[in-house]
Symmetry: C2
Subunit: 168 residues, 2 copies
């Protein structure tokens, strides 16, 4: 028994997206309790030249659906990046989760050696499936989930690490 | 071919620890350029009730050596958490990397179903090896590396996501 490419990807994305959803909901509750507009959090950043919460969520979404689809050899659904409110960000997570749940293990398993070509603004990156997953997709996705957490935590939302990790 | 437990753990830890080392070095260079004591960064936080950089690095270290050792069925080395300077934090990373490099794939491979018992302050967590790695160890370790990155980024250190991800 070893870890399959499906086991190391889709369940990981689903778990952290579910946790991210609850973290955002705590942000909404915090804004209500403190009587400020939750859209302030949507646009909050950790540095003036760093992306705001809305982009962290959109990019986390892209870095879950994109890698899962690429490993499965299909095109990911395109989402338009038009979210401006917390409910829309929750919906973005839900759409991402719904897509991930359509993927079956047999579509992704066996993709360890698949050639993955990633066109980025900075140039094209080439990977084999396993290195793409372990050294690019998982850390990249997690980066944006943690940064979303940190933006909310920095802004006073009462969340702790087990909100990020989830509870068993 | 699938992913082995070793492939999904030690190389992931090593890669991100190496990147974290370079990120800290950029913090040191930033402090020098701006003529402030780099120890300010060691104690920097994203929120008053959140752990400072020094603890993020120590906990990232613990969450690399601990899981790798647990999956291998051995005791991790104990480090004393006495770091107060950037050079000491770099040394902490180096000690962690040195330990990880002593682990051989055959010590960790096959640990998917191993019982992992994790005594935490909040209670004992029980896992099988694969769930422990994918749903606890990897996200927990990554959380602290990303938070270290975010603390430095928030404090003006010029780093970008590819400093975190590494370049191929």
């Amino acid at each position: 028994m070893m870890i399959s490419m499906y086991q190391a990807s889709v369940p990981y994305f689903l778990r952290l997206l579910g946790n991210l959803r609850e973290i955002l909901q705590k942000g909404v509750a915090h804004a209500e309790a403190k009587k400020f507009d939750a859209a302030v959090l949507v646009n909050a950043r950790l540095a003036p030249d760093m992306l705001p919460l809305v982009r962290q969520i959109q990019i986390a979404s892209d870095n879950a659906k994109g890698p899962a689809a690429r490993l499965a050899g299909i095109d990911p659904p395109k989402f338009e990046d038009t979210e401006t409110t917390m409910p829309q960000l929750l919906e973005r997570i839900d759409k991402t989760v719904a897509f991930l749940k359509t993927l079956k293990p047999e579509q992704i398993d066996g993709s360890e050696g698949r050639d993955i070509v990633l066109p980025l603004r900075s140039g094209t990156l080439n990977f084999k499936g396993m290195n793409y997953l372990m050294f690019f997709a998982l850390p990249n996705f997690t980066f944006h989930v943690v940064t979303a957490y940190n933006i909310l935590r920095h802004n006073g939302v009462e969340i702790g690490k087990f909100d990020f990790l989830g509870r068993n």
